[in-house]
Symmetry: C2
Subunit: 259 residues, 2 copies
DNA sequence: CTCTGTAACTAACTTAAGTTAGAATAATGA
DNA sequence: TCATTATTCTAACTTAAGTTAGTTACAGAG
Protein backbone atom coordinates (compact mmCIF):
# COMPACT_ATOMS: atom_id res chain seq x y z
CA UNK A 1 0.00 0.00 0.00
CA UNK A 2 2.41 2.69 -1.16
CA UNK A 3 0.02 5.54 -0.51
CA UNK A 4 2.73 8.19 -0.67
CA UNK A 5 4.07 6.87 -3.95
CA UNK A 6 0.59 6.84 -5.43
CA UNK A 7 0.00 10.35 -4.24
CA UNK A 8 3.26 11.51 -5.75
CA UNK A 9 2.54 9.83 -9.05
CA UNK A 10 -0.86 11.40 -9.20
CA UNK A 11 0.61 14.83 -8.76
CA UNK A 12 3.11 14.19 -11.52
CA UNK A 13 0.60 12.95 -14.06
CA UNK A 14 -2.31 15.20 -13.21
CA UNK A 15 -5.75 13.99 -12.15
CA UNK A 16 -6.20 10.41 -13.17
CA UNK A 17 -9.46 9.12 -14.54
CA UNK A 18 -11.70 7.69 -11.87
CA UNK A 19 -11.85 4.40 -13.77
CA UNK A 20 -8.09 3.96 -13.69
CA UNK A 21 -7.89 4.96 -10.04
CA UNK A 22 -10.62 2.49 -9.19
CA UNK A 23 -9.21 -0.47 -11.09
CA UNK A 24 -5.64 0.34 -10.10
CA UNK A 25 -6.62 -0.03 -6.46
CA UNK A 26 -7.43 -3.65 -7.06
CA UNK A 27 -5.54 -4.92 -10.11
CA UNK A 28 -2.01 -4.50 -11.37
CA UNK A 29 -2.32 -2.71 -14.69
CA UNK A 30 0.31 -2.42 -17.38
CA UNK A 31 1.06 0.87 -19.09
CA UNK A 32 -0.85 -0.49 -22.08
CA UNK A 33 -3.86 -1.28 -19.91
CA UNK A 34 -3.76 2.22 -18.49
CA UNK A 35 -3.66 4.00 -21.80
CA UNK A 36 -6.44 1.81 -23.16
CA UNK A 37 -8.57 2.81 -20.17
CA UNK A 38 -7.68 6.46 -20.59
CA UNK A 39 -8.81 6.24 -24.21
CA UNK A 40 -12.24 4.98 -23.11
CA UNK A 41 -12.98 8.17 -21.23
CA UNK A 42 -11.99 10.50 -24.01
CA UNK A 43 -14.58 12.80 -25.53
CA UNK A 44 -17.32 12.28 -22.98
CA UNK A 45 -20.70 13.75 -23.75
CA UNK A 46 -21.85 16.63 -21.55
CA UNK A 47 -25.28 16.01 -20.13
CA UNK A 48 -27.64 18.02 -17.97
CA UNK A 49 -29.14 16.79 -14.74
CA UNK A 50 -31.97 14.26 -14.99
CA UNK A 51 -31.38 13.25 -18.56
CA UNK A 52 -31.95 9.73 -19.75
CA UNK A 53 -28.84 7.67 -20.52
CA UNK A 54 -30.75 4.52 -21.45
CA UNK A 55 -34.35 3.49 -21.07
CA UNK A 56 -35.90 0.13 -20.31
CA UNK A 57 -36.61 -1.74 -23.53
CA UNK A 58 -33.81 -0.17 -25.53
CA UNK A 59 -30.99 -2.19 -27.06
CA UNK A 60 -27.97 0.05 -26.77
CA UNK A 61 -24.98 -0.61 -28.98
CA UNK A 62 -22.78 1.62 -26.87
CA UNK A 63 -21.33 1.04 -23.46
CA UNK A 64 -21.69 4.03 -21.17
CA UNK A 65 -18.99 5.10 -18.74
CA UNK A 66 -19.45 7.73 -16.07
CA UNK A 67 -16.64 10.24 -16.30
CA UNK A 68 -18.05 12.98 -14.11
CA UNK A 69 -21.22 13.49 -12.09
CA UNK A 70 -23.80 11.10 -10.68
CA UNK A 71 -26.36 8.82 -12.30
CA UNK A 72 -28.89 6.26 -11.06
CA UNK A 73 -30.07 2.89 -12.26
CA UNK A 74 -33.78 2.46 -11.56
CA UNK A 75 -36.97 0.62 -12.30
CA UNK A 76 -40.36 2.23 -12.60
CA UNK A 77 -43.41 0.42 -11.26
CA UNK A 78 -46.90 0.49 -12.68
CA UNK A 79 -48.12 2.87 -9.99
CA UNK A 80 -45.44 5.38 -10.87
CA UNK A 81 -43.16 4.69 -7.93
CA UNK A 82 -39.50 4.31 -8.63
CA UNK A 83 -36.90 2.05 -7.11
CA UNK A 84 -33.29 3.05 -7.55
CA UNK A 85 -31.04 0.00 -7.57
CA UNK A 86 -27.66 1.68 -7.95
CA UNK A 87 -25.94 5.01 -7.82
CA UNK A 88 -23.32 5.45 -10.50
CA UNK A 89 -20.33 7.65 -9.86
CA UNK A 90 -17.25 8.43 -11.97
CA UNK A 91 -15.44 5.30 -13.06
CA UNK A 92 -18.61 3.20 -13.13
CA UNK A 93 -19.82 1.51 -16.29
CA UNK A 94 -23.55 1.86 -16.77
CA UNK A 95 -24.04 -1.25 -18.80
CA UNK A 96 -20.90 -3.25 -19.38
CA UNK A 97 -21.86 -6.25 -21.55
CA UNK A 98 -25.51 -5.31 -22.04
CA UNK A 99 -25.33 -6.48 -25.57
CA UNK A 100 -25.16 -10.08 -24.36
CA UNK A 101 -28.68 -9.71 -23.03
CA UNK A 102 -31.40 -8.47 -25.32
CA UNK A 103 -33.18 -5.32 -24.27
CA UNK A 104 -32.51 -3.27 -21.14
CA UNK A 105 -34.67 -4.35 -18.22
CA UNK A 106 -34.22 -1.04 -16.40
CA UNK A 107 -33.39 2.58 -17.06
CA UNK A 108 -30.49 4.86 -16.25
CA UNK A 109 -30.62 8.60 -15.78
CA UNK A 110 -28.17 11.28 -14.77
CA UNK A 111 -28.90 12.89 -11.43
CA UNK A 112 -26.55 15.85 -11.77
CA UNK A 113 -24.85 17.47 -14.72
CA UNK A 114 -22.50 14.79 -15.92
CA UNK A 115 -19.94 13.71 -18.46
CA UNK A 116 -20.71 10.31 -19.92
CA UNK A 117 -18.50 8.50 -22.42
CA UNK A 118 -20.36 6.63 -25.18
CA UNK A 119 -18.06 3.79 -26.11
CA UNK A 120 -18.90 1.84 -29.26
CA UNK A 121 -19.02 -1.90 -28.79
CA UNK A 122 -16.22 -2.40 -31.30
CA UNK A 123 -13.89 -0.32 -29.14
CA UNK A 124 -14.76 -2.42 -26.10
CA UNK A 125 -14.15 -5.63 -27.99
CA UNK A 126 -10.57 -4.59 -28.69
CA UNK A 127 -9.87 -4.74 -24.97
CA UNK A 128 -10.37 -8.51 -24.84
CA UNK A 129 -6.75 -8.75 -25.93
CA UNK A 130 -5.65 -7.30 -22.59
CA UNK A 131 -6.08 -10.04 -19.99
CA UNK A 132 -5.38 -7.66 -17.12
CA UNK A 133 -8.32 -5.52 -18.18
CA UNK A 134 -10.62 -8.46 -18.77
CA UNK A 135 -9.97 -9.55 -15.22
CA UNK A 136 -10.39 -6.03 -13.87
CA UNK A 137 -13.75 -5.73 -15.64
CA UNK A 138 -14.83 -9.02 -14.14
CA UNK A 139 -13.84 -7.64 -10.77
CA UNK A 140 -15.95 -4.53 -11.36
CA UNK A 141 -18.94 -6.66 -12.36
CA UNK A 142 -18.65 -8.88 -9.31
CA UNK A 143 -18.38 -5.89 -7.00
CA UNK A 144 -21.49 -4.41 -8.60
CA UNK A 145 -23.22 -7.64 -7.77
CA UNK A 146 -21.97 -7.53 -4.19
CA UNK A 147 -23.27 -3.99 -3.88
CA UNK A 148 -26.69 -5.15 -5.06
CA UNK A 149 -26.73 -7.85 -2.40
CA UNK A 150 -25.80 -5.34 0.29
CA UNK A 151 -28.58 -3.10 -1.04
CA UNK A 152 -31.11 -5.89 -0.59
CA UNK A 153 -29.99 -6.38 2.99
CA UNK A 154 -30.29 -2.65 3.55
CA UNK A 155 -33.83 -2.46 2.26
CA UNK A 156 -34.98 -5.81 3.59
CA UNK A 157 -33.57 -6.06 7.06
CA UNK A 158 -32.37 -2.70 8.31
CA UNK A 159 -34.61 0.02 9.65
CA UNK A 160 -34.57 3.41 7.99
CA UNK A 161 -32.01 4.88 10.35
CA UNK A 162 -29.54 2.06 9.80
CA UNK A 163 -30.19 1.94 6.07
CA UNK A 164 -29.47 5.61 5.49
CA UNK A 165 -26.32 5.35 7.57
CA UNK A 166 -25.20 2.28 5.68
CA UNK A 167 -25.75 3.89 2.31
CA UNK A 168 -23.76 6.94 3.39
CA UNK A 169 -20.87 4.76 4.52
CA UNK A 170 -20.87 2.88 1.23
CA UNK A 171 -20.94 6.02 -0.87
CA UNK A 172 -18.16 7.52 1.21
CA UNK A 173 -15.89 4.51 0.71
CA UNK A 174 -16.60 4.42 -3.01
CA UNK A 175 -16.02 8.14 -3.43
CA UNK A 176 -12.81 7.95 -1.44
CA UNK A 177 -11.65 5.08 -3.61
CA UNK A 178 -11.76 7.27 -6.70
CA UNK A 179 -10.19 10.23 -4.97
CA UNK A 180 -13.37 12.25 -4.59
CA UNK A 181 -13.53 12.30 -0.80
CA UNK A 182 -11.15 13.52 1.77
CA UNK A 183 -11.30 13.76 5.50
CA UNK A 184 -14.71 12.11 5.62
CA UNK A 185 -16.18 14.75 3.40
CA UNK A 186 -17.59 14.45 -0.12
CA UNK A 187 -20.17 15.83 -2.50
CA UNK A 188 -23.49 14.05 -2.10
CA UNK A 189 -25.78 15.69 -4.64
CA UNK A 190 -28.79 13.48 -3.90
CA UNK A 191 -32.16 14.87 -2.96
CA UNK A 192 -34.04 13.30 -0.10
CA UNK A 193 -36.47 11.95 -2.66
CA UNK A 194 -33.66 10.16 -4.47
CA UNK A 195 -32.37 8.72 -1.21
CA UNK A 196 -35.90 7.53 -0.48
CA UNK A 197 -36.27 5.94 -3.90
CA UNK A 198 -33.05 4.06 -3.25
CA UNK A 199 -34.03 2.81 0.18
CA UNK A 200 -37.74 2.27 -0.30
CA UNK A 201 -38.65 5.18 1.98
CA UNK A 202 -40.72 8.32 1.66
CA UNK A 203 -39.08 11.73 1.63
CA UNK A 204 -40.78 12.53 4.89
CA UNK A 205 -39.16 9.61 6.59
CA UNK A 206 -35.76 10.20 4.99
CA UNK A 207 -35.95 13.68 6.39
CA UNK A 208 -36.74 12.41 9.88
CA UNK A 209 -33.80 10.05 9.75
CA UNK A 210 -31.38 12.69 8.49
CA UNK A 211 -32.48 15.01 11.30
CA UNK A 212 -31.72 12.30 13.76
CA UNK A 213 -28.30 11.55 12.26
CA UNK A 214 -27.54 15.26 12.50
CA UNK A 215 -28.87 15.56 16.04
CA UNK A 216 -26.64 12.69 17.08
CA UNK A 217 -23.76 14.49 15.46
CA UNK A 218 -22.95 11.58 13.18
CA UNK A 219 -23.17 13.55 9.96
CA UNK A 220 -23.42 17.03 8.58
CA UNK A 221 -25.22 17.52 5.27
CA UNK A 222 -25.71 20.96 3.77
CA UNK A 223 -26.01 22.01 0.16
CA UNK A 224 -24.96 18.68 -1.17
CA UNK A 225 -21.79 18.48 0.93
CA UNK A 226 -21.74 15.57 3.32
CA UNK A 227 -19.32 15.32 6.21
CA UNK A 228 -19.22 12.24 8.38
CA UNK A 229 -18.62 13.60 11.86
CA UNK A 230 -17.99 10.26 13.50
CA UNK A 231 -17.25 7.54 10.99
CA UNK A 232 -16.72 4.82 13.55
CA UNK A 233 -20.02 5.51 15.22
CA UNK A 234 -21.85 5.67 11.90
CA UNK A 235 -20.36 2.36 10.82
CA UNK A 236 -21.36 0.87 14.15
CA UNK A 237 -24.87 2.30 14.09
CA UNK A 238 -25.56 1.05 10.58
CA UNK A 239 -23.77 -2.28 10.69
CA UNK A 240 -21.51 -1.26 7.83
CA UNK A 241 -18.54 -3.41 6.90
CA UNK A 242 -16.65 -2.51 3.74
CA UNK A 243 -15.61 -6.09 3.00
CA UNK A 244 -18.21 -6.49 0.24
CA UNK A 245 -16.63 -3.69 -1.77
CA UNK A 246 -13.53 -5.87 -2.16
CA UNK A 247 -11.14 -2.95 -2.35
CA UNK A 248 -8.01 -4.95 -1.94
CA UNK A 249 -6.09 -7.08 -4.35
CA UNK A 250 -7.47 -10.31 -2.99
CA UNK A 251 -3.97 -11.27 -1.92
CA UNK A 252 -3.29 -12.56 1.54
CA UNK A 253 -2.27 -9.82 3.89
CA UNK A 254 -3.32 -7.14 1.45
CA UNK A 255 -4.08 -3.86 3.10
CA UNK A 256 -7.72 -2.90 3.04
CA UNK A 257 -8.89 0.58 2.24
CA UNK A 258 -8.16 2.61 5.32
CA UNK A 259 -10.98 4.84 6.37
CA UNK B 1 -38.70 -22.04 -30.83
CA UNK B 2 -38.90 -25.67 -31.91
CA UNK B 3 -40.53 -26.84 -28.71
CA UNK B 4 -41.55 -30.17 -30.17
CA UNK B 5 -38.07 -30.88 -31.45
CA UNK B 6 -36.57 -30.04 -28.08
CA UNK B 7 -39.06 -32.29 -26.37
CA UNK B 8 -38.29 -35.09 -28.76
CA UNK B 9 -34.57 -34.71 -28.29
CA UNK B 10 -34.94 -34.74 -24.56
CA UNK B 11 -36.80 -38.01 -24.70
CA UNK B 12 -34.12 -39.52 -26.86
CA UNK B 13 -31.17 -38.50 -24.68
CA UNK B 14 -32.76 -38.88 -21.25
CA UNK B 15 -33.09 -36.12 -18.68
CA UNK B 16 -30.69 -33.34 -19.52
CA UNK B 17 -28.79 -31.50 -16.85
CA UNK B 18 -30.55 -28.36 -15.68
CA UNK B 19 -27.49 -26.30 -16.57
CA UNK B 20 -27.55 -27.43 -20.19
CA UNK B 21 -31.29 -26.94 -20.45
CA UNK B 22 -30.97 -23.46 -19.00
CA UNK B 23 -28.11 -22.29 -21.20
CA UNK B 24 -29.49 -24.02 -24.27
CA UNK B 25 -32.62 -21.91 -23.99
CA UNK B 26 -30.59 -18.81 -24.57
CA UNK B 27 -27.37 -19.69 -26.41
CA UNK B 28 -26.56 -21.96 -29.29
CA UNK B 29 -24.22 -24.60 -27.93
CA UNK B 30 -22.00 -26.94 -29.89
CA UNK B 31 -21.78 -30.61 -29.09
CA UNK B 32 -18.43 -29.88 -27.48
CA UNK B 33 -19.95 -27.17 -25.30
CA UNK B 34 -22.66 -29.56 -24.23
CA UNK B 35 -20.36 -32.36 -23.23
CA UNK B 36 -18.11 -29.95 -21.36
CA UNK B 37 -21.15 -28.77 -19.41
CA UNK B 38 -22.27 -32.32 -18.76
CA UNK B 39 -18.83 -33.08 -17.34
CA UNK B 40 -19.17 -30.23 -14.84
CA UNK B 41 -22.13 -31.83 -13.17
CA UNK B 42 -20.58 -35.27 -12.83
CA UNK B 43 -20.01 -36.73 -9.40
CA UNK B 44 -21.98 -34.22 -7.40
CA UNK B 45 -21.74 -34.37 -3.63
CA UNK B 46 -24.86 -35.44 -1.74
CA UNK B 47 -25.75 -32.97 0.97
CA UNK B 48 -28.42 -32.86 3.66
CA UNK B 49 -30.82 -29.98 4.15
CA UNK B 50 -29.42 -26.86 5.82
CA UNK B 51 -25.78 -27.64 5.31
CA UNK B 52 -23.26 -24.95 4.61
CA UNK B 53 -21.87 -24.79 1.07
CA UNK B 54 -19.65 -21.76 1.70
CA UNK B 55 -19.41 -19.31 4.56
CA UNK B 56 -18.68 -15.61 4.59
CA UNK B 57 -14.96 -15.00 4.91
CA UNK B 58 -13.91 -18.21 3.19
CA UNK B 59 -11.82 -18.26 0.04
CA UNK B 60 -13.12 -21.23 -1.90
CA UNK B 61 -10.98 -22.74 -4.60
CA UNK B 62 -13.90 -24.65 -6.03
CA UNK B 63 -16.85 -23.44 -7.99
CA UNK B 64 -20.14 -24.90 -6.80
CA UNK B 65 -22.90 -25.93 -9.15
CA UNK B 66 -26.38 -26.90 -8.04
CA UNK B 67 -27.32 -30.22 -9.62
CA UNK B 68 -30.36 -31.06 -7.54
CA UNK B 69 -32.26 -29.43 -4.69
CA UNK B 70 -32.46 -25.87 -3.43
CA UNK B 71 -29.96 -23.55 -1.78
CA UNK B 72 -29.95 -19.95 -0.61
CA UNK B 73 -27.44 -17.15 -0.68
CA UNK B 74 -27.74 -15.01 2.46
CA UNK B 75 -26.18 -12.49 4.76
CA UNK B 76 -26.39 -12.59 8.51
CA UNK B 77 -26.75 -9.34 10.44
CA UNK B 78 -25.31 -8.54 13.84
CA UNK B 79 -28.69 -8.97 15.55
CA UNK B 80 -29.02 -12.47 14.15
CA UNK B 81 -31.54 -11.67 11.44
CA UNK B 82 -30.91 -13.12 8.04
CA UNK B 83 -31.50 -11.70 4.59
CA UNK B 84 -31.66 -14.17 1.74
CA UNK B 85 -30.52 -12.54 -1.49
CA UNK B 86 -31.00 -15.44 -3.88
CA UNK B 87 -32.54 -18.85 -4.19
CA UNK B 88 -30.37 -21.31 -6.08
CA UNK B 89 -31.99 -24.09 -8.04
CA UNK B 90 -30.52 -26.79 -10.29
CA UNK B 91 -28.34 -25.34 -13.02
CA UNK B 92 -27.29 -22.34 -10.92
CA UNK B 93 -23.66 -21.66 -10.09
CA UNK B 94 -23.21 -20.64 -6.47
CA UNK B 95 -20.07 -18.65 -6.99
CA UNK B 96 -18.86 -18.48 -10.55
CA UNK B 97 -15.63 -16.44 -10.57
CA UNK B 98 -15.40 -15.93 -6.82
CA UNK B 99 -11.69 -16.40 -6.98
CA UNK B 100 -11.37 -13.01 -8.67
CA UNK B 101 -12.57 -11.39 -5.48
CA UNK B 102 -10.85 -12.20 -2.22
CA UNK B 103 -13.00 -13.69 0.48
CA UNK B 104 -16.71 -14.47 0.28
CA UNK B 105 -18.86 -11.57 1.48
CA UNK B 106 -21.88 -13.80 2.11
CA UNK B 107 -22.77 -17.40 2.82
CA UNK B 108 -24.57 -20.14 0.96
CA UNK B 109 -26.50 -23.02 2.46
CA UNK B 110 -28.60 -25.83 1.14
CA UNK B 111 -32.28 -25.59 2.01
CA UNK B 112 -33.26 -29.12 1.04
CA UNK B 113 -31.30 -32.29 0.48
CA UNK B 114 -29.23 -31.49 -2.56
CA UNK B 115 -26.60 -32.60 -5.00
CA UNK B 116 -23.84 -30.03 -5.42
CA UNK B 117 -20.93 -30.36 -7.82
CA UNK B 118 -17.57 -29.13 -6.52
CA UNK B 119 -15.68 -28.06 -9.61
CA UNK B 120 -11.98 -27.32 -9.20
CA UNK B 121 -10.89 -23.98 -10.59
CA UNK B 122 -8.53 -25.67 -13.03
CA UNK B 123 -11.45 -27.49 -14.63
CA UNK B 124 -13.35 -24.23 -15.03
CA UNK B 125 -10.33 -22.54 -16.59
CA UNK B 126 -10.28 -25.13 -19.36
CA UNK B 127 -13.65 -23.83 -20.53
CA UNK B 128 -12.23 -20.45 -21.54
CA UNK B 129 -11.30 -22.11 -24.81
CA UNK B 130 -14.98 -22.48 -25.68
CA UNK B 131 -16.25 -19.02 -26.66
CA UNK B 132 -19.86 -20.17 -26.73
CA UNK B 133 -19.62 -21.18 -23.09
CA UNK B 134 -17.78 -18.05 -22.05
CA UNK B 135 -20.62 -16.04 -23.48
CA UNK B 136 -23.25 -18.27 -21.92
CA UNK B 137 -21.61 -17.86 -18.52
CA UNK B 138 -21.61 -14.10 -18.98
CA UNK B 139 -25.29 -14.36 -19.77
CA UNK B 140 -25.91 -16.31 -16.57
CA UNK B 141 -24.00 -13.74 -14.53
CA UNK B 142 -25.91 -10.83 -16.04
CA UNK B 143 -29.23 -12.53 -15.42
CA UNK B 144 -28.23 -13.13 -11.81
CA UNK B 145 -27.61 -9.42 -11.57
CA UNK B 146 -30.98 -8.64 -13.11
CA UNK B 147 -32.63 -10.95 -10.60
CA UNK B 148 -30.93 -9.06 -7.78
CA UNK B 149 -32.29 -5.77 -9.11
CA UNK B 150 -35.79 -7.20 -9.32
CA UNK B 151 -35.35 -8.46 -5.77
CA UNK B 152 -34.52 -4.93 -4.58
CA UNK B 153 -37.65 -3.60 -6.24
CA UNK B 154 -39.65 -6.35 -4.59
CA UNK B 155 -38.38 -5.59 -1.12
CA UNK B 156 -38.20 -1.83 -1.53
CA UNK B 157 -41.34 -0.85 -3.35
CA UNK B 158 -43.87 -3.64 -3.31
CA UNK B 159 -46.09 -4.46 -0.38
CA UNK B 160 -45.94 -7.94 1.11
CA UNK B 161 -48.80 -9.28 -0.97
CA UNK B 162 -47.28 -8.14 -4.25
CA UNK B 163 -43.79 -9.22 -3.22
CA UNK B 164 -44.78 -12.78 -2.39
CA UNK B 165 -46.71 -13.03 -5.64
CA UNK B 166 -43.80 -11.67 -7.61
CA UNK B 167 -41.35 -14.09 -6.06
CA UNK B 168 -43.66 -16.99 -6.83
CA UNK B 169 -43.94 -15.91 -10.46
CA UNK B 170 -40.19 -15.64 -10.77
CA UNK B 171 -39.53 -19.02 -9.23
CA UNK B 172 -42.14 -20.58 -11.45
CA UNK B 173 -40.59 -19.20 -14.63
CA UNK B 174 -37.11 -20.27 -13.55
CA UNK B 175 -38.26 -23.74 -12.59
CA UNK B 176 -40.14 -24.11 -15.83
CA UNK B 177 -37.06 -23.04 -17.75
CA UNK B 178 -35.10 -26.01 -16.41
CA UNK B 179 -37.95 -28.43 -16.92
CA UNK B 180 -38.97 -28.68 -13.28
CA UNK B 181 -42.44 -27.20 -13.58
CA UNK B 182 -45.40 -28.18 -15.58
CA UNK B 183 -48.89 -26.88 -15.81
CA UNK B 184 -48.18 -24.08 -13.35
CA UNK B 185 -47.15 -26.55 -10.71
CA UNK B 186 -43.75 -27.09 -9.12
CA UNK B 187 -42.01 -28.11 -5.93
CA UNK B 188 -41.50 -25.14 -3.65
CA UNK B 189 -39.75 -26.55 -0.60
CA UNK B 190 -39.39 -23.22 1.22
CA UNK B 191 -40.67 -22.65 4.72
CA UNK B 192 -42.57 -19.48 5.46
CA UNK B 193 -39.58 -18.35 7.49
CA UNK B 194 -37.33 -18.71 4.44
CA UNK B 195 -39.77 -16.78 2.31
CA UNK B 196 -39.81 -14.08 4.97
CA UNK B 197 -36.03 -13.93 5.12
CA UNK B 198 -36.00 -13.43 1.37
CA UNK B 199 -38.58 -10.66 1.35
CA UNK B 200 -37.77 -8.91 4.60
CA UNK B 201 -40.98 -10.06 6.25
CA UNK B 202 -41.87 -11.95 9.41
CA UNK B 203 -43.28 -15.46 9.23
CA UNK B 204 -46.51 -14.18 10.70
CA UNK B 205 -46.96 -11.76 7.86
CA UNK B 206 -45.90 -14.24 5.19
CA UNK B 207 -48.58 -16.53 6.53
CA UNK B 208 -51.22 -13.79 6.34
CA UNK B 209 -50.26 -13.08 2.75
CA UNK B 210 -50.29 -16.75 1.73
CA UNK B 211 -53.73 -17.13 3.29
CA UNK B 212 -54.93 -14.23 1.22
CA UNK B 213 -53.42 -15.60 -2.00
CA UNK B 214 -55.15 -18.88 -1.30
CA UNK B 215 -58.45 -17.24 -0.40
CA UNK B 216 -58.36 -15.34 -3.68
CA UNK B 217 -57.74 -18.63 -5.42
CA UNK B 218 -54.50 -17.43 -6.99
CA UNK B 219 -52.34 -20.21 -5.62
CA UNK B 220 -52.47 -23.52 -3.88
CA UNK B 221 -49.57 -24.47 -1.63
CA UNK B 222 -49.55 -27.70 0.33
CA UNK B 223 -46.63 -29.83 1.49
CA UNK B 224 -44.16 -27.98 -0.62
CA UNK B 225 -46.13 -28.31 -3.84
CA UNK B 226 -47.15 -24.99 -5.33
CA UNK B 227 -49.81 -24.67 -7.98
CA UNK B 228 -50.54 -21.33 -9.54
CA UNK B 229 -54.30 -21.35 -9.98
CA UNK B 230 -54.49 -18.20 -12.07
CA UNK B 231 -51.13 -17.21 -13.48
CA UNK B 232 -52.40 -14.18 -15.35
CA UNK B 233 -54.07 -12.77 -12.28
CA UNK B 234 -51.02 -13.44 -10.12
CA UNK B 235 -48.76 -11.71 -12.62
CA UNK B 236 -51.16 -8.80 -12.71
CA UNK B 237 -51.52 -8.58 -8.94
CA UNK B 238 -47.78 -8.63 -8.35
CA UNK B 239 -46.61 -6.53 -11.29
CA UNK B 240 -44.52 -9.40 -12.61
CA UNK B 241 -42.93 -9.16 -16.04
CA UNK B 242 -40.49 -11.89 -17.03
CA UNK B 243 -38.42 -9.63 -19.26
CA UNK B 244 -35.62 -9.31 -16.70
CA UNK B 245 -34.98 -13.05 -16.81
CA UNK B 246 -33.90 -12.64 -20.44
CA UNK B 247 -35.01 -16.08 -21.48
CA UNK B 248 -34.71 -15.51 -25.16
CA UNK B 249 -31.72 -15.46 -27.43
CA UNK B 250 -31.58 -11.69 -27.62
CA UNK B 251 -32.35 -11.90 -31.31
CA UNK B 252 -35.03 -9.77 -32.86
CA UNK B 253 -38.31 -11.55 -33.02
CA UNK B 254 -37.13 -14.29 -30.70
CA UNK B 255 -39.96 -16.02 -28.95
CA UNK B 256 -40.10 -15.42 -25.25
CA UNK B 257 -40.72 -18.20 -22.80
CA UNK B 258 -44.38 -18.97 -23.01
CA UNK B 259 -46.08 -19.30 -19.70
C1' DC C 1 -33.77 42.11 -6.08
C1' DT C 2 -37.90 39.86 -6.74
C1' DC C 3 -40.15 35.96 -8.73
C1' DT C 4 -40.52 31.05 -9.15
C1' DG C 5 -39.85 26.45 -8.63
C1' DT C 6 -37.53 22.88 -6.23
C1' DA C 7 -36.04 20.92 -2.17
C1' DA C 8 -36.16 20.73 2.81
C1' DC C 9 -38.66 20.49 6.61
C1' DT C 10 -43.00 19.81 10.07
C1' DA C 11 -47.17 18.14 12.13
C1' DA C 12 -51.19 15.16 12.70
C1' DC C 13 -53.03 11.16 11.58
C1' DT C 14 -53.26 6.30 9.34
C1' DT C 15 -51.74 1.78 8.20
C1' DA C 16 -48.94 -2.12 6.93
C1' DA C 17 -46.16 -4.90 9.03
C1' DG C 18 -43.83 -6.33 13.41
C1' DT C 19 -44.15 -8.50 18.11
C1' DT C 20 -45.43 -11.74 21.39
C1' DA C 21 -47.50 -15.72 22.60
C1' DG C 22 -49.71 -19.69 21.99
C1' DA C 23 -52.60 -23.57 19.55
C1' DA C 24 -52.97 -26.80 15.84
C1' DT C 25 -50.63 -29.64 12.46
C1' DA C 26 -47.34 -31.89 10.18
C1' DA C 27 -42.98 -34.22 9.82
C1' DT C 28 -39.16 -36.96 11.80
C1' DG C 29 -36.83 -40.15 14.45
C1' DA C 30 -36.12 -43.51 18.32
C1' DT D 1 -45.99 -46.31 17.82
C1' DC D 2 -45.18 -42.47 20.54
C1' DA D 3 -42.46 -38.53 21.47
C1' DT D 4 -40.14 -34.70 19.72
C1' DT D 5 -39.33 -30.99 16.89
C1' DA D 6 -40.42 -28.09 13.13
C1' DT D 7 -43.78 -25.64 10.73
C1' DT D 8 -48.11 -23.55 10.07
C1' DC D 9 -51.59 -20.85 11.61
C1' DT D 10 -54.21 -17.32 14.83
C1' DA D 11 -55.17 -13.50 17.79
C1' DA D 12 -54.25 -9.19 20.26
C1' DC D 13 -51.50 -5.57 20.54
C1' DT D 14 -47.48 -2.29 19.16
C1' DT D 15 -44.68 0.44 16.16
C1' DA D 16 -42.07 2.06 12.26
C1' DA D 17 -43.01 4.07 8.37
C1' DG D 18 -46.54 6.01 5.15
C1' DT D 19 -49.97 9.70 3.99
C1' DT D 20 -51.67 14.14 3.54
C1' DA D 21 -51.15 18.69 3.73
C1' DG D 22 -48.95 21.97 4.50
C1' DT D 23 -44.81 25.83 5.64
C1' DT D 24 -40.10 27.38 5.12
C1' DA D 25 -35.80 28.03 2.76
C1' DC D 26 -33.04 28.32 -0.94
C1' DA D 27 -31.06 28.83 -5.71
C1' DG D 28 -31.35 30.24 -10.18
C1' DA D 29 -33.67 33.12 -13.87
C1' DG D 30 -34.93 37.38 -15.42
Amino acid sequence: MPADALQAERQRSGPRSALITKLESVARLTQEDRSALAALGEDPRDMGARRSIIREGEKPDHVHLMVEGWAARYKLLADGTRQITAFLIPGDFCDLHVTILGAMDHSITTLTRAKVAYIPRSKMDLLTGLPGLVKAFWWATLVDEAVLRAWIVNVGRRDAYEAVGHLICELYVRMKNIGLADDHCFELPLTQEELGDALGLTTVHVNRVLQRLRAENLIDLRRGILTIRDYRALEEASGFNANYLHMDRGEDGAASADV
